[in-house]
């Protein structure tokens, strides 16, 4: 397996086009093993598009994407499935199955992929709920009976159901109150430490960038315009970065 220099995701020269609008234009990006990468950019810049392209939900015009050293275009369907078992995805709206309970939602991937007893499935489900900070009592509720923050947590628990090595989080703290968002960042950090996760996090939340992320990549004009630590971002001369990291809201976060 070609996992040199520890890049778990390797995106090379990727172009994505919808009709005549070019959303991603020759984009390069590496995500290293064990890091939390915060992915920012103006609204509509294509952050979600890149995430969905890496996962394989959006077709790309050209370029090459490797995850765990496997080129997903060249991979056979069994190789692809093996890769899919090693990642977990938290969608922006949670995307919980509305006709299944929390218990069934979390157990769904394990029930499909592993032949283990119902007892173990139940115990692991409780373990995941405890890890994401929920009480086991919510297990038999339906998604429509949960609050926004609980939906995000259950969705995270489902993303972690098979103990993935890589987790994609699409705006995990949007729609949460600042305290809830702070707890969620803390949770992601803790899980990253305990489970040794690599996290790819699309976010708009400056607090998340400061407290949770090891490295930040910025998307603009279909390319990565900067990648590095918070300090690198603040030192950058790029006008959008200047505004984003040194603007009024950013100062409020630091203060």
């Amino acid at each position: 397996m070609a996992e040199q220099d520890d890049a778990i995701i390797r995106v090379r020269d990727v172009t994505v086009q919808f009709g005549s609008t070019r959303v991603l234009d020759g984009l390069d990006l590496d995500v290293k093993r064990g890091e939390i990468l915060g992915f920012v950019g103006p609204s509509g810049a294509g952050k979600s598009v890149l995430t969905r392209t890496i996962i394989g939900l959006v077709p790309k015009l050209s370029g090459r994407i490797e995850v765990f050293g496997v080129d997903l275009d060249a991979a056979s369907s069994s190789q692809r499935r093996a890769v899919e078992r090693r990642w977990g995805i938290l969608f922006q709206q949670g995307a919980l199955f509305s006709s299944l309970t929390v218990r069934q939602n979390i157990q769904f991937p394990a029930r499909e992929y592993l032949r283990v007893s119902q007892r173990l499935l139940d115990e692991i489900m409780v373990a995941k709920l405890v890890m994401v900070g929920l009480k086991p009592e919510v297990a038999d509720r339906y998604p429509s009976e949960l609050s926004g923050g609980m939906i995000k947590r259950v969705a995270l628990a489902r993303a972690l159901a098979l103990d993935p090595e890589l987790v994609f989080l699409d705006e995990p703290t949007s729609g949460l109150d600042p305290i809830g968002a702070g707890e969620f960042d803390e949770l992601v950090r803790t899980l990253q430490r305990t489970l040794g996760l690599t996290v790819f996090m699309v976010t708009h939340d400056l607090d998340s960038l400061y407290t949770a992320c090891d490295r930040i990549a910025v998307l603009g004009n279909g390319k990565i315009i900067a990648a590095g630590s918070i300090a690198d971002m603040k030192a950058s001369q790029h006008p959008w970065l200047q505004q984003y990291f040194n603007g009024k809201r950013a100062r409020a976060v630091v203060a």
């Binding site: 093996a82 006709s99 592993l114 890890m131 297990a139 038999d140 339906y142 098979l162």
Partner: protein, 391 residues
């Protein structure tokens, strides 16, 4: 630190990396040495190993679990080790986990907080339960009828309000729905009724010919199409085509809180959403029923000519003798009433949708089934009514 093997190496033979739990006697006590990958991929094997080892409970005074040889550990492995530790512990002696590396100790601490899983409430089969079910179903039927009457009242009240303040009438919306349920339904309705007319005519001629009564097929076709089949068939098609669409539209608006949003802005959802839809349906069904009846007569006439040898002139002459305007009126009077029934059922079901996709599906199905059922019931009521007034 997470060295996992590539996929496809899941043979039955012991490969290095398969999880193991060796038992090593240490004087009075026993050490259980875990090794290999204790991860989700090996969960079935791990579960077997652990339930085997759980039987050792109480066999020795002192048992501990050594995890220093474990190559990789995740939630599955950590929990199974914790479960083993719990089941080996008893009142006298607590089993211990030894050799835990710093990397994994936080994970093991995490699963230590796990309590027992809440039980799934299971429905047991019992006589009381079955009686309860019957009672709930009967109450549900009552609830359905009350819901329909409630909606009928609300729609009439909204219509009354619109009559008093004609400016609040939503003409654009009504025209839009009229296009959806009437104009766009014309091709399929005309095609199906045309075919049904052909079939009735062909069957009639085939059987009447034995008595030399071919020409009476025109009487049968005329009465059947204008009085019953035309409107009933079209009503069933509209219930399937437009009733289901209404339920799905209103239901998904309900799911996404759009109806609540309307209400908070001071609009009455009945007036804004339901009245235009109802009105469009009540206007559309007579038009479709008329077109359908004409298409069925045309189809029947065509088959009578080509298959039965009844030429068009004779067909029309016979038709004029066989039917009166009464037959046509009976058919047309039924149409708007059936439209109202379909619309009311569809809207009630749409507003009853709960949060899940499954609920949307259930109510859409219920909308079509109940719509068709009530259409047929209404047809029966009309048959009794018209018979008693001699039409």
């Amino acid at each position: 630190m997470h060295q996992r093997r590539p996929a496809g190496l899941r043979g039955r033979q012991k490969v290095s990396g398969d999880p193991t739990l060796e038992r090593i006697a240490q004087g009075e006590g026993l050490a259980l040495c875990a090794a290999g990958n204790w991860t989700a991929r090996f969960a079935p094997a791990l579960e077997r190993i652990v339930s085997e080892a759980e039987k050792l409970r109480g066999s020795r005074p002192h048992i501990f679990i050594d995890v220093s040889q474990v190559a990789s550990l995740d939630t599955f492995g950590a929990w199974l080790i914790e479960r083993l530790r719990r089941s080996l512990s008893d009142a006298s002696a607590e089993a211990e986990i030894a050799g835990l590396s710093a990397n994994y100790s936080s994970l093991v601490d995490e699963v230590r907080r796990v309590g027992p899983a809440p039980r799934v409430a299971s429905d047991r089969l019992s006589i009381a339960g079955m009686l309860e079910q019957i009672g709930r179903t009967v109450a549900g039927i009552g609830g359905t009828i009350i819901g329909l009457v409630d909606m009928l009242g609300a729609v009439l009240a909204a219509a009354g309000k619109v009559l008093i303040h004609p400016r609040s009438f939503r003409l654009t919306s009504t025209v839009h729905h009229l296009e959806q349920v009437c104009w766009r339904a014309v091709p399929i309705v005309v095609l199906i009724t045309f075919l049904i007319g052909c079939i009735i005519s062909q069957q009639g001629i085939f059987h009447f010919r034995r008595f030399g009564a071919d020409i009476f097929v025109v009487d049968m076709l005329g009465v059947l199409v204008l009085r019953e089949i035309g409107v009933l068939l079209v009503a069933i098609m509209v219930a399937g085509r437009s009733g289901s669409a209404y339920t799905a539209e209103l239901g998904s608006m309900k799911m996404r809180e759009e109806i609540d949003a309307l209400r908070t802005m001071g609009f009455d959802p009945i007036e804004v959403l339901i009245l235009p839809r109802m009105l469009a349906l009540v206007l559309a069904l007579p038009i479709l029923a008329f077109l359908g009846a004409m298409a069925a007569l045309y189809g029947g006439g065509l088959v009578a000519w080509l298959y039965g040898g009844v030429d068009p002139e004779a067909f029309l002459l016979r038709l004029r003798d066989a039917i009166s305007i009464d037959h046509f009126i009976v058919g047309m009077v039924k149409a708007p009433v059936m439209a109202a029934v379909i619309g009311i059922v569809a809207c009630v079901e749409g507003l009853a949708v709960q949060g899940s996709a499954e609920s949307l599906g259930q109510h859409t199905t219920a909308s079509v089934v109940k719509g068709i059922f009530f259409v047929i019931v209404m047809d029966g009521v009309f048959a009794i009514f018209f018979a008693s007034i001699g039409m």
